[in-house]
Symmetry: C3
Subunit: 100 residues, 3 copies
């Protein structure tokens, strides 16, 4: 199979950060995303998934390396001080790289 290495950027954050993050993904050039609700605990304490507005969400986006770089830089600069947020990047191999 002819696969291509891309970056997956995963963002785990307060549900309150949803709209500004989706806007940022679009501005940075991401063509799609996946989102689901999660429970979590970190240095801000425990968050359950029971109440929508207080729950955490996990957002995943597959992008070329240069877009990933841009995303991480803007997330760090614009979101880390304002929201409970964890961001990580990993390598994935996709078919049809022009889709991302």
């Amino acid at each position: 199979m002819n696969t291509h290495t891309m970056k997956m950027v995963t963002i785990i954050c307060e549900a309150l950060a949803r709209e500004p993050i989706l806007r940022l993904l679009k501005q940075a050039g991401a063509h799609g995303f996946t989102l689901f609700r999660v429970e979590g605990a970190g240095d801000k304490g425990v968050r359950t998934a029971d109440m929508e507005e207080f729950s955490n969400i996990q957002i995943q986006v597959i992008v070329p390396p240069d877009v990933a770089e841009k995303l991480l830089a803007r997330l760090e600069k614009e979101f880390f001080s304002r929201f409970g947020i964890v961001v990580y990047e990993s390598d994935v191999r996709v078919l049809r790289p022009h889709k991302f």
Copy 2:
């Protein structure tokens, strides 16, 4: 720890594609899977997780490299033109490789 590198194949698709994809996983030799509902947006527009039959699902399966290869080939040939679908592969390290 004695870990073994395997392939994780992740499939994000319309809930409608669920049964044919689970059948394909079985035929290709996968021994298990994980599945959960997600929201998403891609080049087919936005999908929320509110209505089960219109939502997207994310399916994850851990398999040996040869099974991953076979899976990707069949997904591309049999599903890409019929369903809204994203497929990617990544490396994971497992204990008890005989389980996969």
Copy 3:
């Protein structure tokens, strides 16, 4: 961006194993976790996400390599014979490594 490679340990298990696993994560030195409900099938049969107490959960935790090693060893020793459980490890790159 100044990213740091860490280990993500993913645990897919019966919901019944939730509390002992969260205790283990804490004891092993993990500073946070993400958890969500999944459906799955493996060599123990199919599990749906409909009934909370019988469903499976997926737990993700990002830790330094030495903590990952300790976690895998204890999961293998203390959980594999008692619960339906799948564990895998992968590499992720994070900002702010002191958080993990």
